[in-house]
Structures are given as C-alpha cells and as structure tokens.
Subunit: 391 residues, 2 copies
C-alpha cells in the first residue's frame, strides 16, 4: 500500500475562519455542526458521532466516551487544533452541546438544515434557550473548494483508482458472475491502497446494464453482454469514483450507437468545464449531445456530483432547477458521468473525475474508454484522443 | 459463496398492517417513509434514495429515474408487493411525495422524526397543505421483532461470521500492521459470503486497544500486544457483528485481570437475557460485574445494540435513562459487548450476537473466547464453557 503523500497539516484555522465569516454574515452567533464529514473537515475528528459548537472566538468538540481519548490526543498533537476544546458528553451529545452553549450564551444558534433531524432539533430546543436558525451548507460551501493538500490527496487517489480500474476491467470475462467481478473490483481497490470502497460497487451485465443503480447479482457474464462497472475508493478520507462500460465480444449496432453517443456526451461535458460557467452548463453539454442522438429520455440522471470527504457532495452537475446551480471555481472536483439506458437493450455510462483549474479542467482519472472488454487484458487500449477519426 | 438460504418472501403485507395499526392509534392518516432500511423493510426497495407514502388503504413507492425500472420489476415479481404503486418522481422525491399525497388528501401526515431533516421537512411543508405529525420509530418498532425469515438469514450470517472470525484471528501475528490485519479480516468476510463489511473494521493493537473505536493504522503488531478485533458483515441486507480480544504472547497480570473481568461481564449479561426483562437489565448485569472488579469507569459505552437491516438499531442495551429502554421480546436480536479501557494499559472488548427466544436466548455467534492470539491457528481453542474452573 502506498504511503499517503507527505502533506502539511490541513489548514484548520483557515477553514474555521471561513465558516466564522459566513456565520457573521448570517447574524448567527454559534453553529452546531454534527455532520461527520464536517466534523472531520473543521475538527479533524473522524468518529461516527460527535458535535462541534463554533462561535466567533471558540470551538468545542463534544464526543462520547468511545472517542474522548483519541479526540484529545489528536487535538494535542496538531498545531491547527490547539484551539479546540475537547469535551466529554457524559449522557448524550445534545446535553454536551447544551453544556458548551451555556458557557457562551450565544443568542442566535445555527443548525445544519441538511442533516439536522426533527428529533435532535426538538431535543436541542428543549435544552438550549436560544433562537435557532436553520443554516444551509455553511461548511459544505467551504468544502466545495479543495485546498492544496486535498487536491494532492485526490490526485493520488485518482491515479490509484485508474490503476485499480485496469485490474478490474481485466476481470470482466464470460463465465464470471457479477458478484465475483464485484469482489475482484474491491480486491483491486484494496491492492491499490484504498481503505475501503466509496460505495457499493456496481457490476451490471446484459439487461441489468439498463438499470443505472443495479446491484451485482448471481447473473453470469456471457459473450455479447455489455457490462457497466461503477466503483470508487476512499483514500485518506477522500472519495474518487469511476465508471467504464465494456462489451464482451462484438457489440451489436444498437449498443455501439448508444456507447458512441455517451462517449461523445462525456467528452462534450468535459470540454466545457472551466471557471465561471454554471455547473448546469456541463450537464447541458452532455444532455444536448445525447438528445441529438435521440437519447434525451434515456439519460435518467444528472451528469455529475462533487467529490471529497463524501462521495456525493456539492457541486451538483445537473439540469437547472433540480439542485443548487453553482458557478464553477478553481478547486472544485466533481464527476462527469453521462449515461443512456434503454430497457431491453442495455445501458452505458462513462465517468471520470475532474478538477476545475484556473483556465479549464484537469481530468484526474485516466483509463482508456474502450467498448471491448478484453482490451485491458490484451493491451489493446485506445485512449479517448486515440479513437480513429469518425469512429 | 454459500447460496442465500431458501426462504419465503418477506411478509410485506403483515409488516404494512403492523405499521397501519400504529398509525391508526396515533391518529395519523398517512406516513412518509424515507429511511432506506425502512424502505427495504416495507417496500422491498434497496436503493439509496426514495420514499413511501403509506395510508390506510394504499402504499406508493416514489423513486427517481435511476431506480424506476428495477423498482417496477421487483414489485411486479413479488406477490407481497402487488399492492405497491411505483411512481417516478420527475424532479425531486419531495415533489413525487406531494403528487401522491394529492391523490389521498390525507389530513394528518406523519414523518419520521429520527431521520427527517429540517430542510426536507420545510420543502414538504411548502408542497403539502396537511397537518404534519412527527412520529417516533413507527417502522423501527416493527423491525425490532425479527420474523422467521429474518431470523434464518441472521442465524446463517452469524455462522458465516464465526467462520470468518477463526480465519481473522489466525491473521493476528507479530510483524503485521493493523491495516494489513484489517484487510485480512475483510477478505475473510468476503470469502465467508458477506457482500460487504457492516462497518469499518477495527483492529486496535497495544495502546490503541484502549480506544474503543480506533481506526486501523500503520502500527505493527508486536509480541506482548493485546489486540481488539471488531468486525461485521452484511448478508442479504442483514448485519452481524463480533469482537474478540487476543494477546500476542503471555499476557501481563494487569491485562489478564481486565480480560477476565470483561469475559465475566459478557457471560453475566448473556445469562440474564430473556423475554420480559428490560434491555437495561442486561447492561446492568455487565456493568455491575465490571464495577465489582473496579472497572466501572473503564466501561465507557453501552453493553449492546440491536442488529438487523442496520448495524445499530433498536433495542439499545445501555444504562437506564440514556436510550429508550425496551422490554425484551422473542425475536429481538442484539449484541452483547462489554469492554474495559485503561489508557496506557490497554483495552478489552468481547462481543457476541444473541436472539431472544421464548425462554431465554440463543447465542448466534460461536467463536472461542481465548486471550492468546495464536489459538485460532494452533487449534488450542477453549470455549467459554470449557475454561478451567476458577480461571
């Protein structure tokens, strides 16, 4: 397993300052953070349960007995976390938050609307006599722009994923079941150095390929099948994600037409990525390409999603009006994954991960886009740019 | 990989009837269900995003374009799901829920307080002019009592986990890193037939064993280390969970004393499990045993948690007052996992999965409880009941 790239400590103070600026703009005196990726981002805490209370001058991490020792050790060992108060919640996280709040007496307390549940909110309201404000994506907005260290980790993760993809594609052979191929994919992820899959691996063969989120099953791969492989890994906490569609044996004309259309849509979407355009413009580039091939109805999902501490985060790359439409900025990392699905015929999806740069984009993943499945094994790779003209 | 045990289709109608009875008692005309395990339990749907709208006479499943084909196919193929209306949400799940609600005009609409977020609740309130009622654990209460088919699947899963545990324990050897051992554990889980780990595998060696939720790291196992292995698998959607603590080489007297105390607490807790007692009584049995050995402060978590479609579900087996305290009933399945953690010395946790039966309990997992780590490899196993008297 490769070592994590040497990198400096995450800029916790700068992250916290960004959040504090947002809170000040909202007139919020304290923010309760409970979303685990946000706890890691701001407080270096990667347990499953905990809370941060962030005010203009302080930041408290509240954890239970399972995590108190490790949380204190980490904070003590990190220059950027020296400011953190680490507190034990003896009965419940909510009571621990209330104790910390009592020290601050913040008048307006923000909660994370996207993750705060009604039950937890009711408990907090009963414990804390403050004015509550539902906030939107305060920490998520900061997380959307990756810092230097995050970009380095995700570049490395994308290289590892590309290597794993070559191994995984070589495992796509007639006679193997979808489940067996999925296991090979996950072994390849581990060998490449990922701590775990980023989501349940998708291996969808033959008619199953027409189901965008099929689960691998007992179906055995057969000559003539199209096979969609969609998989990702978590490396040092960060997620990357890749899809390729391959064909076992010669493709039918109809399947080849779908494949070519999706490949064009994928290239068209990547071609427009640059700072200053709306995320939805990337979706439009893919969608228009598919529509021109008569596949508008067959593209049943968005073109992409942000990647980072979560495998689905902002920005959302989809049709205008279906999600918050971000203006692309350097440091954003997201997937480009158009697809087309025709029940009875089959489905195709092609996905890469891209980083928005100052002038355009950098495609972080690098795996040949090739319809014939044994390409990876036999070395007959053709990269995107190497397709015969007019193919 | 073993085949799933032959079992009849889940009793979807009976499950829905149980939920409808609860709703009627609450004066709620319709329930919006969005928690994924509840969608699977009631609607056979195992995607990541969707909703059910349950009324006294109907049940609608609302999904997006990624899942519509598979959801319709499954419902059509299942006798128990013939009643299900499967509807496409063209823009958002919330709008899909609102469309279905408009057909029913239910006056009082329940939402799941434990999982409904403030943002989603606000969107639903803006779309649906009904009276909203926050409900508690309506579906979870039904899920807590496993039916015959669920018990068969979880018995099989526990047997598979026990087999994987023997392999995993054999991998605990000096010179291997925690991460390497964790990979061996996860490979053993896959070989045993699990579709994936139920949670991030814990391998905590030496001083790390004093951290109940340590992440595996680069630390290399050394003679003299105590090592906590805590891992679980998902089989046919259901989760099982097991922990063993082993020692590489002769144990120090202080570590042996902690181990013996936790082993006694584990046995004492299992000994009291039977229908009619409070879940907290199981915790008390473990906690009193540890307190008598001077380890009250060292037991920093609850004794156990329910298992099923989620790896942490009801009943919670913990101190009175810290969670809803269920009266045990036949068909409940939960972990018994006392532990003791002394920073600087080390930690011990021992965990098995138990089923409450009509007269007591059945321990579903079966792995020797042995302090010496190479026992699994050398065949020097001693089961709990085989310990020398007075050991």
């Amino acid at each position: 397993m490769p070592d994590a790239p040497a990198r400096s400590e995450p800029p916790y103070r700068a992250r916290l300052d960004a959040v504090r600026d947002t809170l000040a703009g909202l007139g919020v005196d304290a923010l309760i953070v409970t979303h685990p990726p946000n706890l890691r981002y701001l407080g270096g805490f990667d347990g499953s349960l905990g809370a941060l209370l962030v005010t203009s001058s302080e930041c408290s991490l509240i954890v239970d007995g399972r995590y108190i020792t490790i949380a204190k050790e980490r904070a003590a060992a990190s220059e950027g976390l020296r400011h953190l108060r680490v507190e034990l919640a003896p009965r419940s996280i909510e009571e621990g938050i209330a104790s910390e709040w009592a020290r601050t007496k913040a008048a307006a307390v923000g909660v994370e609307g996207a993750v705060m549940t009604l039950d937890r909110f009711t408990r907090l309201q009963s414990l804390i006599p403050a004015r509550f404000v539902t906030t939107e994506r305060v920490v998520e907005a900061a997380r959307m722009i990756k810092d230097h260290g995050e970009i380095e980790v995700m570049r490395q993760a994308a290289r590892m994923l590309s290597a794993a993809a070559l191994e995984a594609l070589a495992a796509v052979r007639p006679g193997r079941s979808e489940t067996e191929v999925a296991l090979e994919v996950e072994l390849a992820l581990r060998r490449a150095g990922f701590s775990k899959p980023a989501f349940d691996t998708i291996v969808a063969s033959g008619p199953h390929s027409a189901l965008p989120h099929a689960r691998p099953g007992t179906r055995v791969l057969t000559a003539g099948d199209g096979v969609v492989l969609d998989f990702g890994g978590v490396y040092d906490g960060y997620c990357v994600d890749l899809t390729r569609t391959v064909q076992l044996g010669p493709a039918s004309g109809s399947f080849r037409r779908i494949f070519d259309a999706v490949r064009e849509a994928h290239a068209a979407a990547i071609a427009v990525v640059r700072p200053g355009i709306a995320a939805s413009a990337v979706d439009t580039a893919a969608r228009d390409t598919l529509a021109a091939r008569g596949l508008a109805e067959a593209f049943v999902h968005g073109t992409g999603h942000g990647l980072g501490l979560e495998v689905h985060e902002e920005p959302r790359v989809t049709r205008p009006g279906t999600a918050r439409d971000e203006i692309l900025r350097p440091g954003m990392i997201f997937t480009v994954e158009p697809g087309a699905y025709l029940p009875g015929v089959g489905g195709v999806r092609i996905e890469d991960d891209v980083l928005v740069t100052a002038s355009g984009c950098e495609v972080l993943t690098s795996v040949p886009i090739d319809l014939e499945g044994d390409g990876a094994a036999s070395g007959r790779h053709r990269g995107l740019g190497e397709e015969p003209a007019g193919d």
